[in-house]
């Protein structure tokens, strides 16, 4: 009799098991944070000495005197590089003219090994390029400067600006 009573109790316990029926599943949440971009000036774009009035001097991106920026960010990410090129080099009110559409930019790990990114660009020129697997990119800038006759001797300067932003790729 006791055995059957236990059986009956066991039977009554089944609904509790059924009511506990449940299931679970999981998914991943994922995100990739792109590291902050840094743009650092490395070398000055130097047109050197103008020894004669009316002279024009050109610096190629692969020349030792080209300007260099070091860009760093998320490895392999694509960047939009936008340039702010000056129209003149100034010394007080005196100016050396920079060619409006003579800016050339190369990118790469080294000057010698760099490849053309912008050819004969103007102020505001932009182009996409990729950071290396190590998250770095060298940007080399060359241009053309003309010193008019009658300029006083001295040092003439200007500023080349570079803005880098992720494109999302």
């Amino acid at each position: 009799m006791r055995k059957f009573f236990l059986l009956a109790l066991a039977a009554l316990a089944v609904p509790a098991v059924a009511s506990a029926q449940s299931a679970s599943g999981s998914i991943q949440a994922r995100a990739r944070v792109l590291g902050a971009i840094t743009v650092s000036p490395v070398t000055t774009l130097d047109f050197g000495d103008f020894l004669s009035a009316g002279a024009t001097k050109t610096v190629a991106p692969t020349d030792a005197t080209s300007g260099e920026f070091a860009v760093a960010g998320d490895p392999g990410a694509q960047l939009l590089l936008t340039f702010d090129f000056p129209a003149t080099l100034d010394n007080g009110l005196n100016q050396i003219t920079l060619g409006a559409n003579t800016w050339n930019v190369n990118v790469g790990a080294t000057r010698a090994g760099s490849a053309s990114l912008i050819a004969n660009g103007a102020d505001g020129a932009n182009a996409n390029s990729f950071l290396s697997a190590g998250g770095s990119l060298g940007v080399f800038v060359g241009g053309e400067a003309t010193a008019a006759a009658g300029l006083p001797a001295g040092v003439y300067t200007g500023t080349v600006g570079l803005t880098a932003a992720y494109t999302g790729l």
Partner: protein, 159 residues
């Protein structure tokens, strides 16, 4: 009552109960179909992945008995883990989950993923859950890949 009669009664009880459990439905199944994928985000810029975004929303498929009420509950992480032990803050708001008895991402009933909620399975016993959320990277957030696990649990109601 004879021993045979008692045995028959006990067996009848067992069969009756087993029959009732069967009627309550086939086993519940819950399967993660798609991760909640925020993609590339920028340090210092919060990003909200919509539950209606086909590519980014997290998705679960739910199968069970037809026309039954279910209780569901998410286990939501408040951060994702990244490189070198870095964490990325993760937030869920009231409208970040959706239930679709038609399994369509464009026909969701919004639910609050932060609290248990009930739904009714449709006549075909299949439905889908969608999940969105917000990541909040700090301005100095370390770059790299971040992950976390979101778990959804479901149980029959009233069995």
């Amino acid at each position: 009552m004879s021993h045979h009669a008692l045995a028959a009664l006990a067996s009848a009880l067992l069969l009756a109960v087993a029959g009732r459990a069967e009627a309550q439905g086939r086993p519940l199944r819950l399967q993660g179909l798609q991760p909640l994928n925020f993609g590339d985000v920028l340090a210092g810029v919060p990003f909200h992945a919509l539950r209606t975004d086909p590519a980014r929303s997290g998705q679960f498929e739910l199968r069970g008995a037809k026309d039954v009420d279910l209780m569901l509950q998410f286990a939501l992480p408040d951060a994702m883990s990244g490189p070198g032990g870095a964490t990325l803050r993760l937030r869920f708001d009231a409208g970040d989950a959706g239930y679709s008895p038609t399994e369509s991402i464009t026909a969701q009933q919004p639910v609050d993923p932060r609290s248990p909620f009930t739904v009714r399975l449709p006549t075909n016993g299949k439905a889908r859950l969608f999940l969105g959320g917000t990541v909040e990277p700090t301005p100095d957030q370390r770059g790299g890949d971040y992950t976390a696990t979101v778990t959804l649990t479901v149980a029959y109601l009233g069995v």
